[in-house]
Symmetry: C2
Subunit: 313 residues, 2 copies
Amino acid sequence: MNLQQLRYVQEIARRGLNVSEAAESLHTSQPGISKQIRQLEAELGIEIFVRHGKRLVEVTEPGRQVLAIAARLLGDLDNLRQVGREFSDKTKGRLAIATTHTQARYTLPTAIQAFIAAYPGVELSLHQGNPSQICEMVLRGEADMAIATEAIADHADLLTLPCYRWNRVVVAPLGHPLLAASRLTLEDLADWPIVTYDAAFAGRSRIDHAFQARGLAPRVVLSAADSDVIKTYVRMGLGLGIVAEMAYDPVQDADLGVLDAAHLFETSVTSIGLRRNAWLRSYVYAFIEGFAPHLTRAVVERTLVGGGSAFDI
Amino acid sequence: MNLQQLRYVQEIARRGLNVSEAAESLHTSQPGISKQIRQLEAELGIEIFVRHGKRLVEVTEPGRQVLAIAARLLGDLDNLRQVGREFSDKTKGRLAIATTHTQARYTLPTAIQAFIAAYPGVELSLHQGNPSQICEMVLRGEADMAIATEAIADHADLLTLPCYRWNRVVVAPLGHPLLAASRLTLEDLADWPIVTYDAAFAGRSRIDHAFQARGLAPRVVLSAADSDVIKTYVRMGLGLGIVAEMAYDPVQDADLGVLDAAHLFETSVTSIGLRRNAWLRSYVYAFIEGFAPHLTRAVVERTLVGGGSAFDI
DNA sequence: ATTTCTTACGATCACCGTAACAATA
DNA sequence: TATTGTTACGGTGATCGTAAGAAAT
């Protein structure tokens, strides 16, 4: 049994049981992988993959167990490298954050600005995607943390650190009749065409849920992954926008009217997602605390070792 | 970086930083280990050990981190082997239980009898030791579980599953004046010579603590690791025995008088200790549930993934 | 003086890549 | 027929053990 074999198994699973693809992505030969897999199976005394003739078509039950353990083991291998980097130079390194547009554009900038000032030697990179892509990036080790609303807690292999609560606002072109309303209701909203987030994003499900609970069927004329895209189409008069409250900027969005909608929808919580059992470099703790001051190093460490995800903010 | 290097690092640390000893215990050459360690240190860019000239004298701070991660990683390697064994034959295998004399002699027998009847293909072995030795055995992978009172929760790398509560009884030769007392007090006990457990064992600390809280200094004339040894010396008239209630057998110990002492000492809890992140074979779950029926597979699994140790019994 | 780690060197063995083959869709 | 995994084989390179050397107690 060796590490290479475990990498091979993992990559085959990730590539949809295609050994040739796995070989290519690992820059090695396909027969080499094939042989190592048979060897691993022989040593463990189990079949990891179900074969139809010469084709891998499924992961066996023991194979699933092996994959789960191998993932953690290879994660620890990565942790060892992090320890090396941390102690060879605490000020140099990389920090990859996987997040959604709304976070990247509206909530992260101040934390990031402070971070790059404090850690000029750290190469920071932002990777955008929808919540499930973001989680994948962290699980694959491509990103150090995920920052998103929802979807993180769904992954059993990710640890959830709640950061802050937020709700939505309605934006409309200045002069829109709705802006005169004293207190906004869902029924008011349902009268107008709506522009809001894509299904996969930022608590769109909360919006749908609120309308459904009242038996209303809002007419969503456009959905987007991106608060700025939504506001652009609202400016064009396509409809009312429902966006995260962070996404309304009083200065830049002065040409849009805004109405609080916090009483209409359930609160959402934005969280940081970390790989379970991850070993974090000191500047990662610093970044997290900069973004959510209650997430001190001690709190995060306790959650990492405890494995628990349940605490309130 | 490879698995061998991590095994080497771990073994060197276990053998008190003696590379030669580590080489012998791993059945390999000392220069081979030495070279691999330097190679690992070079790859990680850190020193794992502090050297005085050519001698390893200490583990560095990054070294401690590496050791902790390597332990979990190698544990996962063992988990992979367990998966292999489980699925190649669910009925065959080994179960190593590390425990104290009192558990082995008085609380485990019925669970063990049921287990060997249900799993005749499983080789069961009991390894006795004091609580801290027991924990070590589990951490080193020599035993699958520890069963003991106290000391398990002290190890951060062990998971604690509380099994049952118990307290102590006082035993004395028949005819001993104390046996006539209506209700036993600590002051009564302090008047007589006492035989009880060794400091490392079975809640001896609770006994000392109770006396101290009352300003009493009991005269412990003999302390032993073993309830049977204690009873033997009580039979010889050496003093009063304070033993776990499980250790008094109404039939075999008919020649001894017994007094309940539950109101004098704090309750103790006997727990099972498991390696964190361990992957357990199905018969291990079965054994645990046989010993402590509230510890069903579902409960134990939840605790293993959650990493938490805090639940009540 | 003895124990202990490091360096040097040589042999073995495992791994990897190329090529040919077999089986599936 | 094209794609994909297995078997066969040969070369490279890493690992390991022996032997000699250096530094510490």
